[in-house]
């Protein structure tokens, strides 16, 4: 079947912070650049970011990129690549100031400099005391960032394809990337986007979990497309959880609520944190609180008919204090839990927040995979940046505000690398392989003709519940093992999803089925990688790898200081070394991660 072809120098899939930043680089270099997005660019999930973006500007007090680098490596529990981390931290000031020049309305100090506030894990002088490193635009940093960069792209003539969904990566016989297939939602038609270089900036896949702070759109499409095209996914066992998301909804409840005196209680009404952290109690660190919550639930002391959450109680606080110090909390309770937090406790559960792993790249934004004995050989023509990519700067655990920085730094560096690569290419595009769209068309045809299949919503829910129960914030050997077989069963169901609505125009049932094809790849990668990693590190915490003199916090550097690579083909795992060599400074040596 013949499929219409559109030709560009560069094609970017994703118009969040990472995609928009890369597009500026390409369009301003005069290259014909297409940006595809499922939704209008400023509705990308980056809009949700409030906390800010990290840069050691030193506007409020002394700061240094080397300190930021140290914090990031320590935060990553030494799984981050030290070359990429040095690169990111050194570039931070430059990209933040560029963003200011694009029109980003950062908060300012009295003297007119960018105002900086403290954020968890960011310290001065190699871990000594908290430092003010986060640059924000009130509580709408992500929103302001998207607007500033979208406008800049419009000026630079970036061509946007809005409400287009990329379906599959196109690789030629040599394995080089030469384009993508995509569906125009308005018509339901499939097109080929033929390009000299392709960037994936499709964001995270937080919707693999039942409880997630991520918007519905975060379905891991880039990771799914890469996996189907034979590219491995790196470190997918590492997901950051937030202890208090509203049960069933996922909406975040800030740590501030416990700071103001909020108490966690189990089904017996017991303040259980007293048993787990006698001193800090409800204010213990995120991971300690999350683990305690899961233990209560697993041991049958969870609340509600399914005993699947605990309660966050602020009913003992003075209503006036609640209204003054925690104004948003009442609104969240009423809207998303149906309870008035002044009168009744709120149901909460540890909630998936951020994907540390992703499509493997180097700090140039080039996608890399093992080939001919080189663990990190670039895939010609293929780039990735943002939450869908793994550079790897976040390693086993991301520091807050480092993600927006990641978008800017690696959005820019991947854009620069693409400009350089395209310059070295002949004027004519590399030819498309024969029948380049066949794979996508066959997937669509399968959906069209499937009978007696499974429902998309129910299958997605089964996957989400399995991930939450078997591969959540606190992991158990037997649960992981069982999880691998369960997720394999669910994969079979995903392969036979059936949609009743076969219409062409804006068929959301079809779109959701296609998204589920991507989610399941990420879910498998996560479960299989987590089951294999028999240590605890950063956000991956196992009950059978606990703190001991030999393995502090359960971390086993002798065997597990390495990146996981998961291949879709045969659910196969491979590993590659962590890059412990920074670009110019000395290695930040291994240490126990203690705060």
């Amino acid at each position: 079947m013949s499929v219409p072809i559109r030709k560009f120098d560069a094609v970017i899939v994703g118009a969040g912070g990472a995609g928009l930043r890369a597009a500026i680089q390409l369009s301003e270099a005069g290259l014909r650049t297409a940006v595809l997005s499922k939704v209008f660019p400023t509705r990308s999930h980056t809009v949700a970011a409030q906390g800010g973006v990290a840069a050691s500007l030193g506007n409020s007090e002394e700061d240094h990129w080397h300190w930021h680098m140290y914090d990031t490596i320590k935060g990553s529990d030494w799984l981050g690549d030290q070359d990429a981390i040095e690169f990111m931290c050194r570039k931070a000031n430059e990209v933040v100031i560029e963003l200011e020049h694009y029109g980003m309305p950062f908060d300012r100090t009295d003297s007119g400099k960018i105002y900086q506030r403290p954020f968890g894990g960011h310290m001065s002088n190699f871990g000594e005391k908290p430092v003010r490193r986060s640059c924000a635009a009130a509580d709408r940093t992500g929103h302001a960032m998207l607007h500033a960069m979208y406008q800049r792209n419009v000026k630079a003539n970036t061509q946007f394809f809005i409400e287009w969904m990329a379906l599959d990566l196109i690789r030629d016989d040599a394995g080089d990337v030469v384009g993508v297939t995509a569906m125009e939602m308005e018509s339901g038609e499939v097109y080929i986007f033929h390009a000299k270089a392709v960037l994936f900036a499709t964001g995270g896949a937080g919707r693999i979990y039942y409880s997630s702070t991520n918007a519905f759109i975060n379905t891991g499409d880039g990771a799914g497309m890469a996996a189907r095209a034979g590219v491995p996914l790196e470190d997918m066992e590492f997901w950051q959880f937030h202890p208090t998301g509203v049960a069933g909804a996922g909406v975040l409840i800030t740590e501030g609520v416990r700071g103001e005196g909020g108490i966690l209680r189990n089904a017996d009404g017991e303040r259980f944190m007293e048993r787990y952290a006698p001193n800090a109690k409800d204010l213990a660190s995120r991971d300690v609180v999350s683990r305690a919550m899961v233990t209560e639930i697993n041991e049958g002391r969870g609340c509600g008919p399914n005993k699947d959450h605990v309660m966050l109680d602020i009913t003992h606080l003075d209503p006036a204090t609640i209204m003054k110090r925690l104004p948003g909390i009442r609104e969240i309770g009423i809207q998303f839990a149906g309870v008035d937090a002044i009168k009744e406790p709120l149901p909460v559960v540890p909630t998936c927040h951020y994907q540390m792993g992703g499509i493997p790249t180097n700090y140039h934004g080039e996608v890399v995979m093992p080939k001919n004995g080189n663990p990190s050989e670039p895939v010609p023509g293929f780039y990735a940046a943002g939450e869908c990519a793994c550079a790897s700067v976040h390693g086993a655990n991301r520091l807050g505000t480092n993600s927006l920085l990641d978008l800017l730094v690696f959005g820019k560096s991947s854009g620069e690398s693409m400009v350089e690569f395209i310059k070295t290419q002949p004027a004519a595009h590399k030819p498309l392989p024969a029948n380049a769209a066949d794979y996508s068309l066959s997937r669509l045809n399968r959906l069209e003709t499937q009978t007696g299949g499974t429902a998309v919503g129910a299958t997605r829910l089964a996957m989400q519940r399995t991930m939450q129960a078997h591969c959540g914030v606190f992991r158990f050997k037997h649960m992981l093992e069982e999880g691998v077989s369960k997720i394999t069963e669910i994969e079979q169901q995903v392969a036979s999803t059936e949609i009743k609505d076969k219409s062409k125009v804006f068929n959301t049932a079809r779109l959701e089925a296609l998204e589920l094809d991507n989610l399941i790849e990420v879910a498998k990668a996560t479960m299989v990688s987590a089951n294999a990693r028999t240590e605890s590190r950063g956000a991956h915490v196992r009950d059978d790898a606990i703190d001991s003199p030999e393995f502090p916090d359960g971390r086993d550097d002798a065997n597990w200081l390495k990146h996981t690579l998961w291949y879709r083909e045969g659910n196969k795992l491979d590993y590659k070394p962590v890059n412990m060599k920074p670009l110019t400074v000395d290695t930040i040596a291994l240490k126990k991660r203690a705060y």
Binding site: K38, A48, E186, A215, I217, Q335, F336, F506
Partner: protein, 84 residues
């Protein structure tokens, strides 16, 4: 991007425009659509569609009652959303 003046807003397009960058809006809009989409008149659909053109931060503030919608024409739809 499609304009708010489109004669007919197809249910699919409306549904897709309820996909947002903020989870809070996804949840509120999904709940609303599940209960009300069928019963909305053509005019109401157009109003909802127009409302969905607001950026996420503003739309959430409007449906949560923290901000008023400057388009008084859309007040009826805003009230429906707030009540959902």
């Amino acid at each position: 991007m499609d304009s708010a003046n489109d004669q007919q807003v197809s249910p699919g397009r409306l549904l897709w425009h309820c996909r947002r960058g903020l989870l809070e809006l996804d949840l509120i809009l999904q709940r609303f659509i599940e209960h009300h989409l069928e019963s909305l008149t053509t005019d109401q659909r157009a109003e909802l569609f127009e409302l969905l053109h607001y950026d996420d931060i503003t739309l959430l503030a409007i449906v949560s009652g923290r901000e008023q919608c400057e388009e008084t024409r859309l007040k009826g739809m805003v009230d429906l959303l707030r009540a959902a």
